[in-house]
Symmetry: C2
Subunit: 219 residues, 2 copies
């Protein structure tokens, strides 16, 4: 059995987008199975009593500097949206339903939504935008059912409930990464892409940098 | 000319202790000159309008987890003090005066103070504790002058003024690390020991992990 990683993320978080790509690379280098877990950062921040980095002006400015270099540091080109943070209940609700009903399509849909937000620059995905994302893969009837469920009170309640469970397990921001080691099934929790090295140390796998290539990126 | 690193730190910060050791290791691997800059984290937090990690319970708990593994992850064994945060104006004032008057002794004194706080577990260093640290190296008269200056209003004013300058340059916590590249004298600012990899990327030097050995630590 391989190591297991549960990757809790929200599309509002640029670090979730970056970490998604970094861990994809590691999934080809390490014996790991990744469970992508669409969740609500807004609820996690609320239940953990946390504030976004932008609430401290210098912290926000530092994050912008880091994101501006994300293409060279992490090999992930992204646009910083004019409005930030933004609401992601529709898209995270859709991805949550996707995980439940069409798990084999989840990865493709996460990739499309993250790309649409952080690369195309279309950040607040509404019903119409989600329909366009789903159209190549699903029938009109399937899309209608998926989105009705995604926008239901029940889905919103589940997002809140799952966020509360994450906070009970220690989360305070995203991406929240829980790695379980193959040898003894022990687990470690990590916050953010800067802790992938710590996950490597815990799994007893080599740390190969953000490109998972063993080469230090160049800024 | 080598690359230059200005390392702003406060003894209250366990990450300053860890980063001090990590960067010492890199100073033997990379062509860098490190300028150790004793500063006041309390003033930086105040001027940056920032809150300590412990103000968000899960963030504080996560930091404790990280620190408990610091010996294996960073090769730095440390005791987590029962009282945290604690006041460091006396010790940071002393180190600031040391840098000005006996720069060739600064590194030895930083090492002793950090060791006393984070290894021996004697965290709130008062006049008596500082005297003991200084005794092997200085005469009674020199110690008296050093500590009178360290505890003066003028030193406190300078710590505040220098913290304000750091915040103007973008700092919001410690260690705050500014690296200047040899080739074009361009600079990058980094927060914390988890960004040493980013400094490596900026300096175009290989990232060799926290042990600066090229080997991933094991947790």
């Amino acid at each position: 059995m391989p190591h297991q990683i549960v990757y809790s993320f929200d599309c509002v978080s640029p670090w979730s987008y970056i970490g998604y790509h970094v861990l994809q690379r590691y999934s080809e280098k390490w014996p790991i199975k990744i469970d992508w877990q669409p969740s609500s950062l807004a609820y996690v921040m609320k239940f953990a009593n946390n504030q976004p980095p932008v609430s401290v002006p210098n912290k926000g400015a530092h994050m912008i500097h880091l994101l501006q270099a994300a293409d060279r540091m992490y090999g992930v080109k992204l646009k910083i949206p004019s409005k930030f943070p933004f609401v992601t209940f529709p898209v995270m609700g859709m991805l949550r339903v996707m995980k439940e009903r069409y798990p084999q399509k989840l990865n493709e849909m996460i990739n499309k939504c993250l790309h649409e937000i952080w690369h195309v620059g279309h950040h607040e995905l509404d019903r119409e935008a989600l329909e366009k994302i789903l159209q190549p893969t699903f029938t009109a009837e399937e899309i209608s059912t998926l989105l009705n469920t995604a926008f239901s009170k029940e889905t919103r309640r589940l997002l809140a409930q799952e966020a509360e469970a994450l906070v009970d397990q220690g989360a305070f921001g995203f991406p929240w990464i829980v790695a379980t080691r193959e040898s003894d099934r022990a687990s470690v929790a990590a916050f953010g892409v800067e802790q992938v090295e710590r996950i490597a140390a815990f799994l007893h796998e080599p740390y190969l940098g953000p490109m998972a290539s063993g080469v230090t990126p160049r800024l």
